[in-house]
């Protein structure tokens, strides 16, 4: 993208020669990755609920899978926004729902229990990633240390008392200039 953008910049304007380290950290990237994963999985659940239900031996649960798809998309949008932590937290809640839904499907009476078991293992793996990403993002974005007091920073070298109304001495009856009448 930067290469394309460089090509469109006017002659003489600075162009990127070499890129430095990004403000995006690995935990930001993991969070974003999980957000895109949510969107992808959500779309698949919405559009292919029948096939997923068949593959997992969960016939009759198609509507539930679609609802989970909508939930995944909402989580994905939230995770890709600046409120990443809320998005990741919602993903963990969703993971727990997924696990609770998949557990009965790994019982002996489900002929597709192998597939269901594989899906359960995947969900548990992703849950671990969600927990790691949530922890890392929370640490990264949290306010650390005791707040400093800036009670000595008045900005008035002669003190607040002397500053009160000081500008009125030379602006006794000022008013905002009209946008059509002010003369620079």
């Amino acid at each position: 993208m930067t290469y394309l953008s460089n090509m469109t910049r006017p002659e003489g304007e600075p162009k990127v020669l070499h890129s430095g380290p990004s403000s995006l950290t690995s935990s930001d990237s993991l969070g974003r990755g999980l957000g895109w994963f949510s969107l992808g999985l959500g779309l698949a659940e919405l559009l292919a609920a029948d096939q997923i239900a068949h593959a997992l031996g969960m016939r009759g649960k198609e509507s539930l899978i679609r609802a989970y798809g909508a939930r995944e998309i909402a989580s994905g949008v939230l995770t890709l926004s600046v409120d990443r932590q809320a998005g990741l937290a919602s993903r963990i809640g969703g993971d727990l729902l997924d696990i609770a839904t998949l557990l009965p499907a790994v019982s002996d009476d489900n002929p597709k229990r192998g597939n269901a078991g594989f899906a359960l293992a995947m969900v548990m793996g992703v849950t671990m990633l969600d927990i790691i990403a949530t922890g890392a993002n929370t640490v990264q974005h949290s306010r650390r240390g005791e707040p400093r007091s800036y009670s000595d920073r008045s900005g008035f070298p002669q003190g607040v008392g002397a500053a009160r109304g000081r500008a009125r001495d030379d602006l006794p009856d000022y008013h905002t200039p009209s946008t059509s009448g002010f003369s620079a």
Binding site: V16, S22, G155
Partner: protein, 391 residues
């Protein structure tokens, strides 16, 4: 040279980029000696304002020394001059500039056609603030090309340090304009929502302009302590009801003058359900800005009062109670700052010791630490209020 470059949402890098060159006779090149991260840079960091492109250099608060001038400067600047660069690029010749409405200069936005379509009519070109306002490279860099430099500069008296002068380019005149356009009377209560750098400057300006009481609203303890140091009564909106406290401070009548120094990213909180709805709408692109502060100001402002908006809004807001505003006869004043309208007066006030804007600086770092400092500033870590970067 090194520069802080936007590569995408939350992705700023300190890149090596080619040096700027004189492109027009009215250009000058400055060697940047100090620059700062502004609260409105965070709107770009979060990609809330459209029309940024990967490779754009950030920054619109900067000052430095002139190292090269174009042939059309006509002696108004020379090599070695120390200048602050206003964030608005002004031609000084168009009808708006002549009226002092510098932030809506009709000439300097080189993407005028795009701005005409989006805004109805173009506004001035801005440094480092999207291609909607010209796509001009910003000043978080070692060197900067200043277009229309014969008009777009503020000469710095030798008596002022970089730290005292730097904020003449944006946050000091922005806070001053916000308070000035309130037409403050000696009997007024002036309330400032948001105690970030612009809010802090607005507090000092309201004090200088003689308000009876100045009230500052925020939730960050260090910001509130700085506001209190500047003479404000403070309200932590996480601890108490803003409406109740303001009514209590004004004998139930409400404040005469209200200043929104928050803008489009107001805090989202469970205790303010409208902010949750705004955030949800923002995520699915049904609303671009979160106008909680505007709603609160309209509700609490005294009938006949003035609402002043220096906080940046980018597009569409929902559920603004216009009926309430109309029936209460409120006056709205807003806009990007007409920096040069105020700077001569403000330089004099700094020189006379009426105000020293350097009080707001909490972090001074090398330019190469800029990407990290964006995050520190965004997350309000380490009691950060204002970051100055040294190239």
């Amino acid at each position: 040279m090194r520069a802080l470059v936007w590569h995408g949402k939350e992705d700023i890098r300190c890149d090596s980029v080619s040096d700027p060159e004189i492109e027009h006779p009215r250009d000058a090149i400055i060697k940047v000696t100090s620059c700062a991260i502004c609260g409105s840079d965070l709107h770009l960091f979060h990609n809330f304002i459209p029309a940024m492109e990967p490779g754009d250099i950030m920054g619109h608060e900067m000052m430095g020394e002139v190292v090269e001038t174009g042939s059309g400067i006509n002696g108004r600047l020379k090599k070695g001059d120390r200048i602050v660069v206003p964030f608005t690029i002004t031609c000084g010749e168009c009808e708006q500039c002549k009226r002092g409405n510098f932030s809506v200069c009709e000439t300097t936005n080189r993407n005028k056609e795009m701005a005409d379509k989006v805004f109805g009519h173009t506004t001035a070109g801005l440094f480092g603030y999207t291609h909607l306002t010209g796509g001009f490279p910003g000043g978080q860099a070692e060197y900067l090309r200043v277009p229309f430099a014969d008009s777009t500069h503020i000469k710095v008296p030798e008596s002022l340090s970089d730290e005292q002068a730097l904020f003449l380019g944006d946050i000091l005149p922005t806070g001053w304009q916000a308070a000035f356009q309130c037409d403050i009377e000696r009997t007024d209560t002036v309330v400032i929502w948001g105690c970030g750098p612009v809010g802090q400057m607005a507090i000092r300006s309201a004090v200088l302009l003689g308000a009876r009481q100045v009230v500052a609203i925020d939730r960050i303890p260090e910001r509130l302590s700085m506001a209190e140091a500047g003479g404000a009564i403070t309200i932590n909106f996480m601890d108490e009801s803003v409406i109740e406290r303001l009514n209590e401070l004004t004998d139930g009548k409400g404040p005469e003058k209200c200043i929104d120094a928050v803008g489009l990213e107001s805090h989202v909180s469970m205790s303010q359900p409208d902010t949750l709805l705004d955030r949800a709408k923002q995520m699915v692109m049904m609303e671009s800005d979160r106008p909680h502060v505007l709603r609160e100001m309209i509700y609490v402002c005294r009938p006949g009062g003035i609402i002043s908006i220096p906080g940046v809004y980018s597009g569409l807001v929902d559920k603004i109670p216009m009926g309430m505003a109309m029936n209460k006869g409120l006056t709205f004043r807003m806009g990007q700052t007409h920096v040069k309208r105020w700077t001569d007066d403000l330089i004099r006030r700094i020189e006379e010791g009426q105000i020293d804007p350097s009080f707001v600086i909490t972090h001074t770092r090398n330019l190469s630490e800029g990407p990290e400092m964006y995050k520190v500033f965004r997350d309000k870590q380490d009691s950060c209020i204002k970051v100055v970067l040294k190239p």
